[in-house]
Amino acid sequence: MKVLIAIKRVIDYNVKIRVKSDNSGVETANVKFSMNPFDEIAVEEAVRLKEAGKAEELVAVSMGVAQCQETIRTALAMGADRGILVQTDAELQPLAVAKLLKALVDKEQPQLVILGKQAIDDDSNQTGQMLAALLGWPQGTFASKVTLGDGKAEVVREIDGGLETVEIKLPAVVSTDLRLNEPRYASLPNIMKAKKKPIDTVTPADLGVDVAPRLVTLKVEEPAKRKAGVKVASVAELVDKLKNEAKVI
């Protein structure tokens, strides 16, 4: 079975995000980028499927600027077999990404697509669902456990207040949640092996997809600053403040 993994290059989760002074977006110059953490989980899950003998080939796909190749290389070092870079300097919105992924799925014919439930930069949480819709495939979103059976998969989903277990037919789309697994980090021998693994580069035009944005970003702003807290001297004072100032009890 072939598995396609979608991975996004995002600003590293440790970086303190700064909004550009003209409010058009966030500062990306001299900022560390790395693989979207949910996508690392997707790669890890796919690699585990391969190690368990349930998948034969893992294809890692990333889309965007040339440097996305670094992100793909990381996936290859974690255990993916080959990479595809859809290279473009254009802004890619979730619908465009889903269409590009669909074009690649048509070409590659994987039985399973695994991707992060959302990317930590724009938090859209749309691509997986849109892809499933475009393909007409079943989807198991927010997966915290994936068990492959014969022509089907059982997916435990994280939902508000609990877990839901669904069974979906393959081929299918699975989006990963945080508790699915703990991604490995690349060892040096695997980094060296990854250098020799192939990465194909295509463009949206090659795939016949129009990626023109459908949404316009009007303004990006910092969240409002939190006010400093106060220390209370006693429980009585706390209760008093909760009652009379915060008016929550």
Binding site: E70, Y185, L188, P189, I191, M192
Partner: protein, 388 residues
């Protein structure tokens, strides 16, 4: 001229950062208080294959250059592991280069894989109490007796000798008077640290408590001839070849630790409010921090220039020595600044920067002092009379 890391180099930095993330400030603080080798950290580094970064692929290494090794060592120090973390693995990275270059096929097959896997720990027995920086005048003797050498003498500062099972040992095999050039007559061995004939005594020192440094007394150690590296009398020349990469790695570690200090200090300068504003709003606080950033960046450029020259097989003595000097001083200024920016808290162990300041003295002193670096540059680059 290209100042960007390539894909592999980015991965090296990121993967090391991830390993180090499991060993936070509290871990190294505890190691600094109570000592004890950071075995678990060293094991994680070894298990992910990092110790072989610069050793040949044929023996299980990755065959990468000193550039990549420097990226790795910088990332370790910069994580806050400082010299405790860096020194725990430092010798495995380049220490066995003389074996890789001058060893026989048999020696390489026997010695390199276990070092790369982290099963062997080697220490570096060069410095002696009565010779200091004048290495040509070391007094440890190795006398040939049939198929063995009999070794007597003393070493000092030998790091990791408490737990090492191997020692890379420099000893005199021909009397100084009998060698026209004082750098000849010294022979390099890689042999078992046999504690029946080697006594190891830890030196209490200023910092880096987790990684021991020792006085080593060698009394009648028998070293088989096939533990000799290369030719008799050429040992110091072999070691000299490894000096430049070692200077580059030490420089990388110093820049890394300096950056860790700068990070802590900058964070504190933003958070600490006095006189109704963050202390970092005062230029008196800003300027030393900004200067440290600039100094660290400059040292960083010099060390990667030296590394690029070395990896291209070109002479790099001036650059490697200058990098070691600049990085150690820049690292020191950054750590000192970090203590001062923290005010009284800078003196408290739980703020970590005083530990950095104690550790950053190491690259200023070792493996070669500031003064000797400057003497070397004066002679070799400026053409002034040799002074040492």
């Amino acid at each position: 001229m290209d100042f960007e890391f390539d894909e592999t180099q980015v991965q090296i930095r990121d993967s090391i950062q991830k390993i180090c993330a499991a060993y936070g400030d509290e871990y190294w603080l505890e190691k600094d208080r109570h000592g004890g080798f950071p075995d678990d950290f060293a094991r994680d580094i070894a298990e992910a294959g990092w110790l072989g970064i610069a050793l040949p692929e044929r023996y299980g290494g990755a065959g990468l250059g000193v550039t990549e090794a420097a990226i790795m060592m910088m990332a370790i120090a910069e994580s806050g592991a400082g010299f405790a973390g860096a020194s725990a693995v430092h010798i495995n990275i380049f220490g066995l280069k003389p074996v890789a270059v001058h060893g026989t096929e048999e020696q390489k097959r026997a010695w390199l894989p276990p070092i790369i896997r982290g099963e062997h720990r080697a220490c570096f027995g060069v410095t002696e109490p009565n010779a200091g920086l004048d290495t040509a005048r070391i007094q440890t003797r190795a006398e040939r007796q049939g198929g063995e050498y009999l070794v007597h003498g003393a070493k000092i500062w030998t790091s990791t000798a408490q737990s090492a099972n191997k020692i890379l040992l420099l000893a005199r095999t021909a009397p100084l008077e009998a060698t026209p050039n004082p750098i000849d007559g010294l022979t390099l061995f890689y042999t078992d640290l046999d504690r029946r004939h080697v006594q190891v005594k830890e030196i209490e020192k200023m910092g880096r408590k987790a990684v021991d440094s020792n006085m080593v007394f060698i009394d009648g150690l028998r070293v088989p001839v096939d533990h000799r590296i290369g030719e008799e009398g050429k040992g110091f020349r072999y070691l000299l070849e490894g000096f430049n990469p070692e200077r580059i790695l030490i420089a990388a570690e110093a820049v890394g630790l300096g950056r860790a200090a700068l990070r802590k200090a900058t964070q504190y300068a933003k958070e600490r409010h006095v006189f109704g504003r963050p202390i970092g709003q005062n230029q008196g606080i800003q300027h030393p921090l900004a200067r440290s950033w600039a100094e660290l960046e400059a040292a960083n450029l010099m060390l990667f220039k030296a590394a690029a020259l070395y990896d291209a097989g070109r002479p790099c003595g001036a650059e490697a020595n200058a990098a070691k000097y600049l990085a150690a001083e820049a690292g020191f200024h950054a750590c000192e600044t970090a203590v001062m920016v923290h005010g009284g808290m800078g003196y408290a162990k739980e703020y970590h920067v005083e530990r950095y300041m104690r550790e950053v003295m190491i690259p200023r002193l070792a493996p070669v002092s500031r003064e000797l670096v400057l003497s070397f540059l004066a002679e070799r680059v400026l053409g002034l009379p040799k002074s040492y």
